[in-house]
Amino acid sequence: MNGNTWLPLLVIASSLLPGLIIFGLAENRVRLRIALNLVGAIVKLVLVGWMLWGTSQGLHYEMRLVLLPGLELVLRAGPLSLLFVSLSAVLWLVTTVYAIGYLEGSPYRSRFFGFFSLCVTATVGVALAGNLITFLVFYELLTLATYPLVVHRGTEAARRAGQTYLIYTVLGGALLLLGTVWLYTLTGTLEFTPQGFLSEVGEEHHFALIIIFVLLIAGFGVKAALVPLHGWLPQAMVAPAPVSALLHAVAVVKAGAFGIVRVVYDVFGMEFASGLGVTGPLAWLAAITIIYGSMRALFQDDLKRRLAYSTVSQVSYIILGVAIAGPIAAIGGVVHLVHQGLMKITLFFCAGNLAETLGIHKVSEMNGVGRRMPWTMAAFTVGAFGMIGAPPVAGFISKWYLGLGALEAGQGWVIIVLAGSSLLNAAYFLPILHRAWFREPPDAWPEEHDFGRKETALMLLLPPVVTALMALAAGLLASAPFSPLEWAKLIAVREFYQP
């Protein structure tokens, strides 16, 4: 065993160990807990950076652990893995800072941060998984680790949301397990391979493969909130804001979308999947989800609910990009994995800030809030424009490649879907911005907390501003080396052009 083997494991351990230690900490060991959290997050970032650098130097990172004969846990750092793992590592650091600020003084913090770290551990595991079974293992761990976070507040609403979340995800997990095992009985391997590993499977099994595809997509679709499996997501917004950020941008929803990307690219392979005729329906499903999510978002007064439906819609961009079955759309889909994360986490941070600082939970309470909290709302504006797909925010880049990819693949209808979605996005985000910036603020906010001269606590303000800047940078500097777009291009090349 050398460093190349251990590095993926270390990346996982860098959040697992702090998490486990935090579980054991007494509630009042605030400093130690913060230190553990931050050290873990920074160490992870450094390790991921090391891995990125190493991979760009041509090193190969892989770790294997035999579960059963023929069934291995594999952690491997491929381009797609690295894209997701970098996203998670970066956003985890930001979210940790935010969560520390957000939960200051609230009860059960050891429990919260313990599960928080576990959640990220699972996400990183999902990212680095080198085969479907490893993916499944971490995917289920993710379900278990997020549940306590969703119900963290302990209210009746939280319990119900948690219950809904569980019903959906456990069902999804069961479908996934079924699909995975079935696939294994047909192929005898589950190793993620660029362009898939199914081309050897005989013609007579193609029908079974279609059903397996459906099972896998349904399993991942639950977390990716594909209509009609999205019901848990809007309910889960009762969770504290950092958790929402985690759910929507870093971990859960992303893991689902990432799973679909994996299934289409590395299990079935783009060519094989389109040969089976399954990508078309998937694209349609994604399209329906995009439109449906936006339509529902339009009518939500609760800010976080509106954002949640927006996630339903946006995450399907990724799936749409994958399902269009062309290299350029693939770039759009994959890059949106990162872009959506950056933008949506910004929005949720801001929503959390509004709730924490002024007690604002509803869109209708947001009049003039931009004057009270300009930095927060500036970040929010960036995120919102990104969601609409207006330049120069990152969402523009995603939409650009999606649209171009659709044209290239000769699927013009996708353009209409994209246009419709942008329109709807504008319809539910622009009124918020209008209210926040141009309406007169009310005489008193619902529940104002005093933060002195600053608009809110620094730990709450910094994260959204940073992520908003990242979203801007990802759009502005899309063609710079190491930008998400460049990585996505690399991945697309690997899937489509390499022999």
Partner: protein, 424 residues
């Protein structure tokens, strides 16, 4: 002059107002509005052409200045200097970021060397202008703002589709390439339509002019000035830049567009026969002008030869139109403020009519020369133009109230013209 520094100046012209848009920065500077325009002024004064490649920006874009957009730059600088002077006196410093944002977007649009850059900065400009449009906020303005926003989003969508088509057809999205390549492509008709629809929304061309008239109804002075100068002119500028005009004969399409322009002008004429609030006059003017413009474009599409003949005039024409609309808008916007006493409300329309007649006459005679030259082949529409102005004049009975403002406005017009020619 060092070429590199010149190229960098291009970047600074756009980046500087953007940077200043941060409240913490501009609130500490004196004269922030004027300061923000300064690089642009310098750029305009400097002779020669320059271009700057920015491969890391988006998918790679760039800025350039040449004889064409120097006209527009000149016009814009003039308008923005006026606007800055007005804005300086506005206590509402909340509008400043939007002012600067719109300014940056406007300069970016002018200097952009390719479609992507244009599109990106037009988004800055469009959304920033929304802030300027409604910052003074009453319900009426909000309604106009909402309309504006809807049209803006629709316009951006249409342009985005056009952009996608262009990107799908070709690698390099520079304007000169676009003009050649998009004329060839199989989807060029669709592209043209998307561009036309997009800019029609942005410019408020008839029949999608609703936001414009709503906006003029009740906005502030500053905005009245900018309304014609920024969204309308930039729309016209954009449509010229984006359309693959003069390359290919699009007879049917061109004729249809011509007809559209003519009908737009007719519409304005008919509309003016009805009683109409004075503040809407700039809106009608703008609609009429853009109708005229569209008609000209249609001619260009159906008769490329004609286009080549007059191509060099189109940018100065736009610049002059911009100045005209801006000043017209500003003047009308100024009116209610000076005449706020109740007794004069009734005579407001008459008071206004007088100045309109005075300076319209000046502009008209000048414009006639220009336009008639341009439109010589297009008798019908030319007649319409003449008719239109005649209508306006007939409708406006001279009143007896004199105002000192006319001189100032005239001065501004002269200044704008001078600057525009300087730039050329």
């Amino acid at each position: 002059m060092n070429v590199d520094i010149y190229a960098m100046l291009l970047l600074i012209v756009v980046a500087w107002p953007l940077l200043l848009a941060i409240p913490a920065l501009h609130s500490r500077l004196p004269w922030p509005h004027h300061l923000a325009i300064m690089p642009a002024v310098v750029l305009m004064i400097l002779p020669g052409e320059a271009s700057l490649e920015l491969p890391w920006l988006f998918f790679g874009t760039g800025f350039a200045i040449d004889g064409d957009n120097q006209w527009i730059l000149g016009m814009s600088v003039a308008i923005w200097l006026m606007a800055a002077t007005i804005a300086k006196n506005i206590k509402h410093d909340f509008a400043t970021p939007f002012f600067l944002l719109t300014l940056a977007g406007n300069l970016g649009v002018i200097l952009a060397a390719d479609l992507v850059g244009f599109f990106v900065f037009s988004a800055f400009m469009g959304y920033g202008f929304y802030g300027l449009l409604i910052y003074k906020g009453d319900a009426e303005v909000w309604r106009a703002g909402r309309l504006y926003l809807i049209f803006l989003v629709l316009a951006d969508l249409a342009l985005f589709e056009a952009l996608l088509l262009a990107a799908f057809t070709m690698q390099n999205l520079r304007f000169e390439e676009v003009r050649h390549v998009m004329a060839e492509g199989s989807s060029s008709q669709f592209y043209i339509w998307m561009v036309l629809i997009g800019f029609a929304f942005k410019t408020g061309i008839w029949p999608v002019h609703l936001w414009l008239s709503a906006a003029f109804r009740s906005v502030s002075q500053l905005t009245m000035l900018l309304l014609g100068g920024v969204p309308v002119t930039m729309g016209l500028f954009g449509v010229v830049r984006w359309l693959p005009i003069g390359e290919h004969v699009y007879y049917v399409l061109g004729t249809a567009i011509q007809m559209l322009g003519v009908v737009a002008m007719l519409y304005v004429v008919l509309r003016l026969l009805m009683p109409s609030p004075v503040k809407l006059l700039p809106a009608w003017a703008s609609t009429a002008v853009s109708g005229l413009f569209i008609a000209a474009l249609g001619t260009g599409l159906s008769h490329p030869v004609v286009w080549h003949q007059y191509e060099h005039l189109i940018y100065p024409f736009i610049a002059i139109l911009g100045i005209f609309l801006a000043v017209f808008g500003f003047a009308i916007g100024r009116l209610p403020e000076t005449r706020r006493s109740p007794a004069l409300v009734a005579s407001r329309a008459e008071a206004f009519n007088l100045w309109v007649e005075r300076w319209i006459g000046t502009v008209r005679s000048w414009a006639k020369d220009r336009l008639l030259g341009f439109q010589s082949h297009q008798r019908a529409s030319q007649r319409q133009v003449v008719k239109q102005y005649q209508r306006i004049l007939n409708w406006q009975k001279p009143g007896g109230v004199g105002v000192g403002w006319s001189t100032r406005i005239s001065l501004f017009v002269l200044l704008g013209l001078a600057l525009a020619w300087l730039a050329g």
